[in-house]
Symmetry: C2
Subunit: 340 residues, 2 copies
Amino acid sequence: MKPKITIYDVAKRAGVSQPTVSKVLNHYPHVKQSTKEKVQKAIDDLGFEPDFLARSLVTNKTRTIGLIVGDIANPFYAETAKVIIKEAQGSGYEVILVDTDYRRDFFEQSVKSLIAKRVDGVIIASITRKNDQIKDLQELGIPIMLYNRNLDSKSVNYIELDNEKGSMLAVEHLITLGHKRIAYISGPIQYSSFQNRLNGYLLGLRKHGIDPHQDLIYEGPFDYENILQYTLRLLVADLHERPTGFIVANDQMAIAVMDAIKRFGLRIPEDMSVIGFDNIDISASPFIGLTTVSQQKKRMAILSIQHLISIIEGKTAIDQSIRITLEPELIIRKTSGSVK
Amino acid sequence: MKPKITIYDVAKRAGVSQPTVSKVLNHYPHVKQSTKEKVQKAIDDLGFEPDFLARSLVTNKTRTIGLIVGDIANPFYAETAKVIIKEAQGSGYEVILVDTDYRRDFFEQSVKSLIAKRVDGVIIASITRKNDQIKDLQELGIPIMLYNRNLDSKSVNYIELDNEKGSMLAVEHLITLGHKRIAYISGPIQYSSFQNRLNGYLLGLRKHGIDPHQDLIYEGPFDYENILQYTLRLLVADLHERPTGFIVANDQMAIAVMDAIKRFGLRIPEDMSVIGFDNIDISASPFIGLTTVSQQKKRMAILSIQHLISIIEGKTAIDQSIRITLEPELIIRKTSGSVK
DNA sequence: CTGAAAGCGCTTACAG
DNA sequence: CTGAAAGCGCTTACAG
């Protein structure tokens, strides 16, 4: 285990003062060419790498950003995290990834840790609508970008999908195919995206003169097993009470719904239609072929990191918040069909 | 934007010296109860949170670990990263996630950044067999855990699967089902896991008196499109030269292979068998139902983070490296069947 | 163009 | 039990 090489070692070897080394490190304009070379040689000889921690303490920049997601094992988050991380790395930032398991206590703890570690900014992909920790970050001047979420309060940057419209597209697609009894499987509506998707479903039905039926709407624990069991319970209903189609608030849950339908012995889409939300990669596979609402996940991810970095580096004025709403697109594959 | 509250502010308000505040912060034993309370009150009043950066500079501990993966969008990495991150968070560590896109230059850059940011340790899930940057980390005394990988050099901690045995299980399963012409789709063999899986395939065939055929082995770019195209090319061969089964070095690629088979109009498993590697979550879905070699991903992930933290915190002696090899298990689903 | 000094926000021996 | 002093490894005015 070698002793750590510091800027002092470099200075001594180059025969200059330690601040001078700092100046060549930071490409200060007024350094004589010859001393620049002496210093550079000493750096190379010693294999010196400046310590970011020490630098951060004085510059107040860590070149680290936080990314908070609800569940990195959900492909939607993994696929977008990839885009965010690559883009950040390309701009010289590292990202601390936090997985909250959709739990409030974990979320709160994480924000504290990220503040303590002085991240330069944070992208939050999983936050409940009401949240006051955002305020802590804002007061400390840490830029925030909400991604796929929105808040009840104002003055926070966000990029989201027009979720309401997304659901309406799904509803209208099914109605066009002759469906009248359409079930809806939601994620927790404390999250704005899930709330808005649910709203869109209700609006879409009403617009076509269909009264939403409480028994056909699920909002509860949204792990695979719970979704599977709920779906099975809906299917055992009398035929005239059984839905003919499902709209599901994300693809991951939609796959669980499809699993239940298949286990129950019904065919998709002949007997039952399913529409998801997110358009994760696997949904395009011919073995899934899920009809789904795309939320332009890559675009959303890249915009959020680019804007965040732009704010961090002072290239975007912060006196006005960034609010971007992307257009949803219905991608029709083979899990949606005409009602019999 | 509030000014940052420091330990000095707390000291002044509590009417004690600044080191005394530090002592109550760190739960030093010899602090009078009454001053402890005074200080705690000042901390609460001001909402003070100690700055980790400053602390790290002196303690030489950042409570941050690095996790390097090849592609976080591959569910295998996402699902295991989740386990690692959750466990780390539970022990008071944050994780910087690095995605290398399997590129050497990105890998090298990342290691430098992680060193500069003084991570307490690093878990590497994607590293080529020959690599000398490991040495840099070791010389700096930064603990390393290789995860799902191994190195040609000695003296590095790793947890891996018996990959050779895994492939042999797959080969023998197909041979038992009557297959003789078995194709193999590999990832880049600079990675030990892929090299060992390929070795197992070759060994398995030879053990049963079958000579491996070069035309049935693919090693090249391993994105979806390339795998799809290669598979299609194999399928157009004359019937007697066409393989009857595929063993694929990971599930993600296996799904691409299945896609090609389906597009070509063949049925799985009636006309063609497919076996993957990893047992990612989606493989268990009835719509995929992939026969695959499980590498106990959750166990592997949790062991690697637990051991790493144990080393970081000095609970494990570092004079001997940790070498753990897990047993593979063949999970037979519905993509493997008897040859016609 | 270069260096002496102060400071970022903490911890840690060391005295007392 | 508490505080004065030094130090972690850098950057940044400020003089010269």
